[in-house]
Symmetry: C2
Subunit: 296 residues, 2 copies
């Protein structure tokens, strides 16, 4: 398969849907809607929704029916970036080659834009489920999975641990907690919710879990490596910021060479986990290779 | 009925459930859980969950089954207070007689505590629905209603309009937008979701909507009046802050006397709307009177 064309085609479908699901507003809160769209439609690889749709397809589901859920994943990812960039958090001024939300819209509006996207994600899931007649129990199970992954037991918990660890000597256990929660949980959920909505068997869900977990960690290690040795132009954001802030990273704790070795081993685990899913999972294999080896 | 005893009994049920649904944590993110609990368990009237449970009961549903949804309403209300108090927003240091979240836990942790409570609200709804075997389509409809009321088309949109209007001359239309969105939407949703989960008829839902809208606006006018002329000790927070910040308020635009007249007329509308619901709706009537006339 031609992965580049596949990713591009799926990305366009997601872009179009995101722009439709979060339209420009009017009235006294129009500026909020503008702030939400500014970050949501700022490009990006759309890896989480693409991964979700690829999993739906690999499990015999209809990706068209799950487009709302896929976009909800991206909305949650985007909200987390907006809040993460705020002065009280990482205080970043550049993201995807553009000014961060609060630089353009001010802190209050950026805060609300994040809150708005997070809430809108759950609204969209319920709305699309009712509109398209999706199986309600499956939607509830997928919602539970997503909210668990995004909340204090997942991403938000990882963010908190990351902030609390800044400038401290971090143990391998705490680093593993931060990685599996801060980015791993939402990637794992992007995969597993695809399986849940498509009605995958318990056995398939277990394979998807192993794939999602390996991929989530591989993605984060790649991210850490890119922050240390990547090209700021390709990345569209500053590099070496983790080190400057005293953030715990994989290469910081284990070195670049060991990080690359671990990355390749995780890619192998992800491939292994997909064996039982057969040929339909080919895009998922290619996506894993791409995510682990990307240069931006 | 003895409203005071009724409110107190319901409040205790909600308190106990909130403490159980958001337990103390352990591990690297334990401090986040502590920050969430600090604000969630800081007292408060628990008006939204009590209103929700009263509506469930008036419509023939089982309030015990809806306790999770009721607590989700309070979690969303609490997250909005935490974010609203942040320096980038209203910059308040006192809430319910205690230091606000960011004063105690720092801005980053307060931001994440808010994000965590919002996400956890939707997790709790899905979790409880699956655990207690609630009717999945009703839960999806109630979730859609709640997320619409809490997000950019509701509360977050109202917050944005409020922030954007600070220090400006505000038209009666913009003030109405801010009131109906910032506080009205969640109160209306507290009522309507109770009806939806209890399987209320379309006609009953329309009555509930009229009740919820009148009550939401009455609540906000009372809030504005208390901010202007209330007792800071009873309120547990500073007064006259709206005026100092140039915030648009009902008494600011129409005067205190006209505000009180409008308040009483809204209480009448709320009573009128409940007529078709009969004797089972007595607590809802009493709650409306209480909300419109409270001194804290």
């Amino acid at each position: 398969m031609n992965l580049k064309a596949y990713l591009e085609a799926r990305r366009l479908v997601v872009e179009e849907a995101l722009a439709r699901y979060v339209p420009t507003g009017s009235g006294p809160a129009a500026r909020l809607q503008e702030a939400m769209r500014y970050s949501l439609l700022a490009g990006g690889k759309r890896i989480r929704p693409i991964l979700h749709l690829a999993t739906v397809e690999a499990c015999g589901g209809d990706p068209q029916e799950c487009l709302g859920f896929a976009c909800a994943l991206e909305m949650i990812h985007t909200y987390s970036l907006i809040h993460d960039d705020l002065p009280a958090m990482d205080d970043d001024e550049l993201r995807r080659g553009r000014h961060t939300n609060h630089v353009v819209f001010g802190e209050a509006m950026a805060l609300l834009a994040g809150d708005g996207l997070l809430t809108e994600a759950f609204r969209l899931i319920a709305h699309e489920a009712l509109e398209k007649g999706l199986d309600p129990p499956r939607v509830l199970r997928a919602t539970l999975e997503l909210a668990t992954a995004a909340g204090p037991q997942g991403m938000v918990g990882g963010q908190a641990a990351d902030i609390l660890s800044e400038g401290r000597q971090v143990s391998p256990e705490t680093l593993a907690f931060i990685h599996t929660h801060k980015t791993g949980a939402l990637i794992r959920a992007s995969v597993r919710t695809g399986g849940i909505l498509a009605g995958a068997s318990q056995e398939s869900l277990e394979s998807l879990t192993r794939y999602g977990e390996a991929l989530g960690l591989a993605f984060q290690i790649r991210d850490d490596l890119l922050n240390e040795e990547g090209d700021p132009v390709k990345l569209g954001k500053a590099v070496k910021t983790d080190q400057a802030r005293g953030k715990a990273t994989y290469p910081g704790l284990f070195g670049a060479q060991e990080s690359r070795r671990r990355l390749e081993s995780l890619v192998g685990e992800a491939m292994e986990a997909l064996q039982s899913l057969g040929a339909e999972a080919e895009p998922m294999r290619q996506i894993a290779l791409y995510m682990a080896r990307r240069d931006h």
